[in-house]
């Protein structure tokens, strides 16, 4: 809405509303649903975070007590740290692979493009519960297929799910498997917006394919990479099904994510108010990290 419109006298406002009544009616379902299922719960959660509530009976107003307790809750901050570690374990690898695979898929010389594109996307539409259980079987230290395969090439068994760091890496593997296709499709979309003449011109000027890719394609793909990394940040911190199925948050809480923690606080500890406070802090941190990421990248963005 522009400033001109805001400056209209109230009668003109009413007229404008009246004139736009049908369009407004037609777009209203979204806003009504959004208010009921998003705005209201978000507001209610904040109200809830100022209370102690076991899920039944009266809510006990406690002010900011929950937030104070949360500030020194080692288990909650550990879950934040886990998410950050997980992010660094798999997102760089996944993003790199997504760019490379997208470039290959975008190549004019590749046959059966549709088939490869579909195949790379299949994991994304597979049920995460089924995939998680399958990974559990494959990664089992004694009976898993992966360790059997490693034994075949004389590599000793890896405690995939029985060691703090390996469990994080295993979770990262599952994430890459599940989300690589989605990110590849994003990159593919980005690549297709880049005019082929730029690369051709560079090649005419004597650049090798690798040089052209590094100096021209990747920089022009930057907005899409930023977008992809941003949703990966959000995805990593809000990861739930993957650790819930693959590692149960263990061993020794190594793969508990913030959302996993919020779930436990709600459904196991029955501390709805505290869980709401956790949600708010978690949300604030995600927003802050995302804004920081946008800011730091847009500073160096050659496109804008």
């Amino acid at each position: 809405m522009s400033e001109d419109e805001l400056a209209l006298p109230s009668s003109a406002w009413r007229q404008a509303l009246w004139r736009g009544r049908w369009p407004l009616v037609f777009i209203s379902p979204f806003f009504i649903l959004f208010a009921v299922f998003n705005v209201y719960p978000i507001a209610f959660s904040f109200w809830l975070s100022l209370h102690d509530w076991p899920g039944l009976g009266p809510m006990d107003f406690v002010g900011l007590t929950n937030y104070v307790e949360l500030s020194h809750d080692t288990i909650f901050w550990n879950s934040m740290l886990n998410a950050a570690l997980l992010f660094f374990i798999y997102v760089p690898v996944m993003t790199f692979l997504a760019v490379v695979i997208a470039a290959v898929l975008n190549s004019r010389f590749l046959k059966l493009q549709g088939l490869w594109r579909a195949l790379i996307f299949v994991p994304n539409i597979t049920s995460m519960v089924a995939a998680g259980y399958t990974f559990r079987l494959i990664l089992d230290k004694d009976s898993g297929a992966l360790n059997h395969a490693l034994a075949f090439v004389h590599v000793s068994a890896v405690p995939w799910l029985d060691d703090v760091w390996w469990a994080r890496i295993s979770l990262g593997l599952l994430m890459v498997w599940a989300w690589l296709g989605y990110n590849t499709v994003l990159m593919l979309g980005g690549l297709q917006t880049i005019p082929p003449e730029l690369v051709e011109a560079a090649k005419v000027d004597g650049a090798t394919a690798i040089q052209a890719f590094r100096r021209i394609t990747v920089p022009l793909l930057r907005p899409m990479i930023v977008f992809s990394v941003t949703i990966s940040i959000i995805g990593t911190f809000s990861m739930f099904t993957e650790p819930y199925i693959l590692t149960r948050g263990g061993p020794i809480r190594a793969t508990e994510t913030p959302v996993y923690q919020i779930f436990t606080t709600t459904f196991q500890d029955l501390r709805f108010g505290y869980a709401a406070a956790e949600s708010y802090v978690y949300f604030a941190i995600i927003v802050a990290v995302t804004l920081f990421q946008f800011w730091s990248i847009s500073r160096r963005d050659p496109v804008h």
């Binding site: 039944l56 089992d140 500890d269």
Partner: protein, 458 residues
Amino acid sequence: MSHDDTTPKENPMSRWPDWQLTRRQMMQGLGAAGLSLPSLAAFLEACGGESTPAVTTLSKDTTGSITIWGWKDSLNALKLVDGDFSAAFPKITFKYVERPPAETYRNIQLAIAAGSGAPDVALIEDSHLPQYVNLGALADITDWVKPYVPKIVNYKWAWTKKSDRYYAMPWDPGPVAVFYRRDVFQKAGVDPNSIQTWDDFYQAAKTIKQKTGAFMWQQARARNDGRLFETLLWQRGTGYIDKSGNVILDKDSKVQQTLEYIGRFWADGLAADQEPWTDPWYKGQSGGTTATVVEAVWMGTFFKSFIAPKASGSWGVFLLPTWESGGSRASNDGGSVLAIFDQSTQKNAARAYVEFHLGRDQSQLLMYQKTDIFPSLKPAFADPFFQEADPYFGDQKVRTLFAEVAAKIPDAGIYSTDYQQMNSLATPEIQKFALGQQSAQQALANAARLIRERTHRS
């Protein structure tokens, strides 16, 4: 029945073979078992006396329509009684909603918080019960449940009460004993009767490992769930908390002693590192690579049905070894109740259902015979069925053994209003201990500190 549910493990119950019996099949089964249920009329007459207020105080014209939530194997057991229930209360209709335990609890939680949508009756494990009782989500059934108090093994009532009011009807207890592989013990030359103390048990473990290569038990390290630890604490009448609710993990020397005892099996390579309720864990039991399983009576059900159905005759059972001479040989793991929800508008029909299914010796016995869910009604223990040999256990009379244990289960501070939370705070510390990253003392000190912080106990 019960199994770990604090973390959402794969549910072993869901593997239960699909034998929802039709009424005819059920009656045939009963005939084969040499049983006959009294007809309704005979039954009503018989009830004039002592045993069942269920049918005497509620009219057979009681009407209602109820929903029962629970998980597969237990619902299958309850369904065995449905035919007779419908005959006794023809005007009550009922339906079951079957979900794994974790999902059942989550849905209950949501229904409670939403203020509507709870079932009329739900199956609840003893480990989860105090939470709901404390919350005030369950209907007060004191008025009609009181007559059952002297009839049911006493320890089961502990979690059903709040300020002397009753909120649930006990079903199965979880008496614990040692299941052992006869073939492995024989090969190692170890006589199970010689194992009287936990020290004997440890010595036997060494002999068995040396002579047969089999592990004494399966205990995960990095994925430990704390269940054996809890079971052994229970045997000693201790636990997370004392009678007044104060945390004693770091104060009772028995607790540390117990954890250190379990630790010796890891340190000396006598425990197989397998996560419970996974395929390798089942295999360890079916394949004879593990000599014992310290678990509740319901473990036998799982052996027979899906873990080791072909191992008939190779398992036996002996009482828990003692910690000190003359000490307790009984412990508990799991167990469940049926509870009626406060939200229910069909409380009479729900009561009829619960009383008929759990309040009659015949019902509990029938379910025990067909599905191995152990009864808690003491008169049921007197049934000749208990004296029969069980061919799966090499014709041992295991039923009397478990009945004996069930009657002697000590009070212990394991299940409470925040058992789930205490278990999930303690297990990572146990895992760290199991992996050799901290001492038992440190593990318990850390667990105790976290529990005090998060549950506001002293």
